[in-house]
């Protein structure tokens, strides 16, 4: 295992189930906001909470975490994404298990929720739960996918949300992940490690798809998360069942690059064998040869898993294990402004803040 440098991890018990966490891009470096989707099983109520986080650089062991505002959701939140509007508002998109979609506009100064736009759960958007939602940079459009096999495009208007169906497989294909690549293109993922590439400008939308039956026999699974780097739009990194993380290059369509997971030759021990719930490019970890890296090389990726692992993976390198918790890490988000900080949603009703210190993090 490669060295992980100086880490400070702090847990904040929530006494509610934490389903998703996202950073909200701040205006200033002092006030940082975190959106957390929580579910209280005793009261059977769900809400989206906006917390402010203050980490003192001199004493990273005692960050302060205060609830600023809360919005009660009609149903349990299944997926959460955040962005910033051109008018400097913070925006969070939350989808629910009942099939409704909500956009919340958060004041960037005091973290209060200013306004909300919704599409109700009347089966017009999705029949049943929405499994994933992704918000375009700028917060102008959303893509939502569900197990019902629908892919919807939601455009954010002045005072309403409009939606248009890109595709409906009527349950033949279920989608579990979605990610924008550019204002016109996005990727979705689902059962059998399937990944689809969509372009709004093309008729029908579907441009290309990858069928995951490359992992023969029992080694197939479900895609839980996709990330696309703005500088390498032709590559999707995908996290899914059985500790699998792979990269799908649109130019080499049926030859995915396995980054972690139970490989076919079974010589290397994967960092995790359970579900990888989320993957994200980690801009904090510097690639050992970033300047000479060809565009086919996969940049470092962070992943979290059901068995409590938070780790950074890099093609051809030993993984760096950042956390090994006793419970599942269901979600995480790297602060886009301050990528040394990572927020995690832990299975045991708590939120964790991981801060990495700069000097020791660079790989030797």
């Amino acid at each position: 295992m490669a060295r992980s440098g100086d880490l400070h991890f702090h847990r904040f018990p929530q006494s509610k189930s934490v389903d998703a966490v996202r950073w909200l891009s701040p205006l200033s470096a002092f006030d940082r906001f975190v959106a957390a989707a929580v579910h209280d099983t005793d009261a059977a109520s769900s809400s989206l909470e906006i917390h402010s986080l203050t980490v003192d650089a001199a004493d990273p062991n005692s960050p302060l975490f205060d609830l600023r505002s809360s919005w009660s959701s009609p149903s349990r939140i299944s997926s959460l994404r955040s962005s910033q509007t051109p008018h400097k508002h913070l925006v969070a998109a939350a989808s629910t298990l009942a099939g409704s979609l909500h956009l919340l506009f958060v004041d960037p100064v005091d973290g209060s929720i200013d306004s909300e736009l919704s599409i109700a759960d009347d089966r017009s958007l999705h029949a049943g739960p929405i499994s994933a939602v992704d918000l375009q940079a700028g917060g102008q459009a959303c893509v939502s996918v569900g197990e019902d096999g629908r892919v919807n495009l939601v455009t954010v208007g002045e005072s309403r949300l409009d939606h248009q169906r890109v595709h409906d497989s009527r349950g033949l294909v279920s989608y579990m992940a979605a990610r924008w690549a550019s204002p016109a293109e996005f990727a979705t993922g689902g059962l059998g490690f399937g990944v689809q590439w969509w372009d709004q400008r093309k008729p029908g939308g579907l441009v290309s798809q990858f069928k995951g039956n490359w992992a023969r026999g029992s080694l197939t699974g479900i895609v839980h998360s996709i990330d696309i780097h703005p500088s390498r739009k032709h590559i999707c990194v995908v996290g899914g069942s059985s500790g699998t993380v792979f990269a799908w290059d649109l130019r080499l369509q049926q030859q995915p690059i396995l980054l972690s997971g139970v490989s076919l030759n079974e010589t290397t021990q994967p960092i995790s064998e359970s579900d990888v719930w989320e993957v994200q490019y980690d801009s904090y970890t510097h690639s050992s040869n970033i300047n000479s890296a060809p565009s086919t090389r996969i940049l470092p990726i962070m992943m979290c898993s059901e068995d409590g692992i938070l780790a950074v993976l890099e093609q051809g390198e030993e993984p760096i294990e950042l956390l090994a918790e006793n419970c599942a890490i269901n979600a995480f988000d790297i602060d886009p402004q301050n990528p040394s900080d990572v927020i995690c949603g832990l299975e045991w009703e708590s939120i964790g803040i991981l801060t990495r210190s700069r000097e020791t993090m660079v790989r030797y």
Binding site: T41, D42, L97, G128, I222, D307
Partner: protein, 719 residues
């Protein structure tokens, strides 16, 4: 909590008025009377589900009243939460403790197992190591139950702050500490009495309503709010004597220093008095104590060995008695000060009547014995008889669970200890404290691990773990940690684990995956495949065909996948619209090569090709497409895997092609083959098992006519 129903006549369920104190809680269901049926069932945790139904409404006259208004709802299900809300520890805190104790418990179990595996090691060395492991476990759990507050870091100490602000003590932690002191911590066994003094300092407030702690706390409030001459206040002396009896020396010294004679303007007139106060303060702060060290801020002088301690103690007592008999007392004009200080001296000399007066609860009196009368008390017998004596002296003290536990420990009675734990502290405590009970205690070990017929051949230890696991299983957030405890139950654990995993909902794929992960960890392949089958069937039923097929494929459920393939067969022969054909084609794609061991899938693929080219013929009808369709038809008809019942539908579908205008599409031999098949079909029709396809009745004759026509044309063509 809802109030008592005012009129029992309104209640849904009649109750007998003569039953002692029936507690009636109204359930606000909002359903208009009459109520026809009430169903009550348990759901998760402490929730009851109450379903109230109205009688089924008569058929609506017009049948157009679809929108049922709120007033006319046919029934409602309400959830009722049972249980008092005013518990010492909130549910959320309880869950936090539950989560935190899992790693410690699991580590201890794995150590136990590995030690058992290396049992060839000498028994004595295992034992010494073992209690250290349990101590580590105990400390970990103890930390979870709440940390004492750190000493305040303010530079200037408030002289009126007699007691440091302390975290609200809980019975749970007090009980845990007590068990750790007596059962686990072998290092402190030489200074057990002093450990108990420390314990009392932390948990005195839990004993009963009025304790020394509550008195001192009251005094502190008085001091901070009132500007009175403290030494005139009897509560000042009372509080101080209590604090001294319980051994809170720092508090006593602080209180003494608040004495009025220390005031600058009074020093001249009350010199002797001040001297006496200071002398007592010095004596208090130099009290010898039989312990290796003292925490910061606590007073006294520590002695590690018995002879050193006895020597110092004798000397210290000599000083006290000298001061007590000195002549300075006569010169002390302030009555309360004289009496108060002499009372303190008597307490330090171990005068039983003074101690009795200074303490409130028998436990406090018991502890004061260790400080001032018998500091070298050793052995549980001595402790026990002393406790009995103190209880008699303080007979008014009410009993509580903590004291019951304490007596159980002193009486070397593990049954009582367990019973008290389970009665007052709940299943978490019992399941975790059993590890402490069995350290180095053969009797308790046998008691807990013996398999009992009355418990269904399981041991008490297993029983309590199962009970705790059941508590965990009943909550949607804690069920995932129940397997850790079930896995440590050798007899019933696995069975209950299987039931637990079966019970989990399958609506959301994340839940299914979390469930399957537990199956993977405990190597329960058959359970995981059952869960996937359940999930597959659920999703299939709810129209998510892709998910359904995926889960069934993961479960390798040939039976159900073949059923699905059978369903696809059923579609054949029905006229397939463009849209549903796509749906159908997608399904065949989904099923992939995994099904079809019986060749059914091969047929489906061929059939799909046939249908597709038929579609093309209908759309544009080029000759090539028509030929290709007929080829597909011939292949299908020749192939033995094509079920007989599809022959007629297939032929009926191709009637148009048989009557192809431009040229006959089949050769003579081909047509003959089809005619033979048709003949065979007519024979089968007479068979009783024959199932009629839903084709028009004239289908057979129209096909026959078409074939005959084709034969005629083909013969002409080939001539």
């Amino acid at each position: 909590m809802p109030g008592l129903a005012s009129d029992p006549g309104d209640s849904l369920v009649p109750f007998l008025p003569d039953v002692r104190d029936p507690v009636v809680y109204p359930v606000r269901h909002g359903v208009n009377p009459p109520i026809f049926r009430v169903y009550v069932s348990w759901t998760r945790g402490n929730f009851l589900q109450v379903a109230c139904l109205r009688p089924p409404a008569a058929e609506p006259a017009g049948g157009e009243e679809d929108g049922v208004s709120d007033e006319e709802i046919g029934g409602k299900v309400v959830e009722v939460k049972l249980g008092a809300g005013d518990e010492e520890i909130s549910e959320a805190q309880r869950r936090r403790i539950a989560y935190g104790s899992v790693p410690a418990f699991a580590l201890l179990q794995s150590r136990k197992n590995s030690l058992a595996a290396m049992s060839r090691m000498s028994a004595s060395s295992i034992r010494t190591e073992w209690w250290e492991h349990v101590l580590e476990y105990s400390r970990h759990i103890s930390d979870l139950l709440g940390n004492p507050m750190l000493p305040s870091s303010t530079v200037i100490e408030d002289p009126k702050m007699i007691m440091q602000p302390h975290e609200e003590p809980t019975t749970l932690k007090a009980a845990w500490q007590l068990m750790e002191i007596f059962y686990v911590d072998k290092l402190s066994s030489t200074w057990l009495p002093e450990r108990l003094v420390d314990w009392l300092a932390d948990y005195d407030s839990l004993l009963t309503e009025t304790t020394i702690h509550s008195k001192v706390e009251g005094l502190q409030k008085r001091l901070s709010s009132l500007k009175v001459v403290v030494e005139d206040d009897p509560e000042y002396w009372e509080g101080m004597s209590g604090a001294l009896a319980a051994g809170w020396l720092d508090a006593v010294v602080k209180l003494l220093r608040l004495h009025g004679s220390y005031q600058l303007e009074q020093l001249g007139s009350r010199e002797t008095e001040n001297g006496l106060v200071e002398a007592v303060a010095v004596l208090v702060s130099t009290m010898p104590r039989m312990r290796p060290h003292l925490p910061a801020g606590r007073l006294g002088q520590c002695y590690k060995t018995k002879p050193d301690f006895i020597k110092a103690w004798e000397k210290w007592r000599l000083h006290i008695s000298r001061l007590d008999s000195s002549t300075f007392w006569v010169q002390c004009s302030h009555h309360q000060t004289r009496e108060g200080l002499r009372n303190l001296l008597q307490i330090m000399l171990g005068n039983i009547s003074n101690l009795r007066a200074a303490t409130c609860h028998w436990m406090e009196l018991f502890i004061s014995h260790f400080l001032y009368i018998r500091p070298l008390t050793m052995g549980l017998d001595e402790f026990h008889s002393l406790a009995q004596k103190c209880m008699q002296l303080k007979s008014s003290s009410s009993s509580n669970g903590l004291m019951g536990l304490f007596i159980g420990i002193l009486g070397e009675n593990p049954e009582v200890v367990l019973a008290e734990c389970s009665k007052t502290l709940g299943p978490w405590m019992v399941a975790h404290a059993m590890e402490l009970l069995t350290v180095d205690n053969g009797h308790a070990d046998i008691l807990l691990h013996e398999e009992r017929y009355s418990l269904g051949d399981i041991s008490i230890e297993e029983l309590h773990r199962l009970v705790y696991a059941q508590v965990l299983s009943s909550h949607p957030l804690t069920w995932q940690i129940a397997p850790t405890y079930l896995a440590s139950c050798p007899k019933q654990g696995l069975g209950l684990l299987e039931i637990l995993l079966y019970k989990q909902p399958v609506q959301h794929y994340q839940m299914i995956l979390k469930n399957l992960e537990i199956c993977r960890l405990y190597e329960l392949e058959n359970i995981s495949s059952s869960i996937m089958k359940i999930a597959g069937t659920y999703h299939w039923k709810h129209g998510r065909k892709g998910s359904g097929v995926y889960w069934l494929q993961q479960a390798r459920d040939e039976v159900r996948l073949n059923k699905i393939a059978q369903q696809l067969f059923e579609c054949i022969g029905k006229s397939i619209s463009d849209d549903s054909f796509k749906q159908w084609e997608g399904l065949i794609e989904l099923l992939g090569s995994q099904v079809g061991t019986a060749g059914g899938l091969e047929f489906l693929h061929k059939y799909r090709d046939f249908k597709r080219s038929l579609q093309q013929v209908q759309d544009g009808s080029p000759v090539d497409a028509a030929r290709q369709t007929m080829e597909s038809l011939m292949q299908l008809m020749k192939n033995s895997s094509t079920p007989q019942r599809f022959w007629l539908p297939l032929l009926h579908d191709s009637v148009k092609l048989l009557n192809w205008k431009a040229q006959p599409l089949l050769t003579v031999s081909e047509t003959n083959l089809l005619l033979n098949k048709l003949q065979e079909l007519s024979m089968v029709k007479l068979h009783p098992d024959f199932c009629e396809s839903n084709l028009p009745p004239q289908a057979l004759s129209s096909v026959r006519l078409a074939l005959a026509t084709n034969l005629g044309r083909a013969v002409l063509e080939e001539c």
